[in-house]
Amino acid sequence: MSRYWKFLRAGRISPIAGYAWPPAGHWVEAEATRMCYQGVHSCRVTDLPYWLHDELWEVEYAGAVVETPFKVIGTRARLVAPVPAWTPGSAQEFGLACIARTAEHAGAELTGSGLDQLAARLAAAASGPSEELARTATELSESAGEPAAARMCGYVADAIEALRYGYPVVMVAFIAARIAAERSGTGSDAAERAWQSQWLATRLGLDPRPVV
């Protein structure tokens, strides 16, 4: 049986439909257009970065599970146990890791545009406090002279601001994915999302192997 996980708002509330989940161990059954408005949704490891929220739970399904690109859906499921390693602290760590990735991508764009000195400035700022990185990124977004690189420096500042001012960490992950997609040349953020998934699985001790 495959393992799945589910992010919920604090108090076991589904983030969008607002459904209040019962405590762990209690089965819930979805009608086609109720529950989370078409079934019970949860994540494989690869889906985690898209759905980050306050609580992370391991989930068990009964019956068939349909796999879709960004989640799985079934009609009967229960919460098994919370993932204790997912806390505001580890969410912050993940956000900071995504900011570092965003800065790397922006630096790579600066370098690719022949702006090696500016790339070095950004890299130096990225090794220090986030306030310094935010200042440098903002300055470069206004002065870099190459539009794509300047825009990506702006993303770095956006990511730092999002984390600092309490926006959901899923937004920081999205910014990192967005800049990676622009850098990819194909518009795909798959590689960045794979990196994010691996970070989360490792940090949170999630074992994606099927339950025997």
């Binding site: 439909a17 086609a32 257009t33 898209y50 759905w51 690109p69 960004f70 997609a181 518009g187 953020d189």
Partner: protein, 81 residues
């Protein structure tokens, strides 16, 4: 429809259809992702959820006496006309 292309104006068009279960898989993912990412759309979604949850109670208000008969009669007169 790609997640990275969606903005708040596009979400407006998806909101009611999501609640009606009319979005296909990709559209639903895009809608849900945007709502997770976007605080103003989270607020909008919350307001809509509150309004939608009030609808069943509103629907239990009975129709005034004779309304159904008058509507049937009206429909019949329109057909004959």
């Amino acid at each position: 429809m790609r997640l990275l292309d969606v903005n708040c104006a596009a979400i407006d068009g998806l909101l009611f259809r999501w609640y009606d279960g009319q979005l296909d898989g990709v559209e639903a993912d895009v809608f849900e992702q945007h709502v997770l990412l976007c605080p103003p759309c989270q607020v909008q979604n919350g307001k809509l959820r509150t309004a939608m949850s009030a609808l069943p109670a509103a629907a239990r208000v009975p129709a005034p006496p004779g309304l159904v008969e008058r509507l049937v009669a009206l429909a019949g007169s329109e057909e004959r006309g």
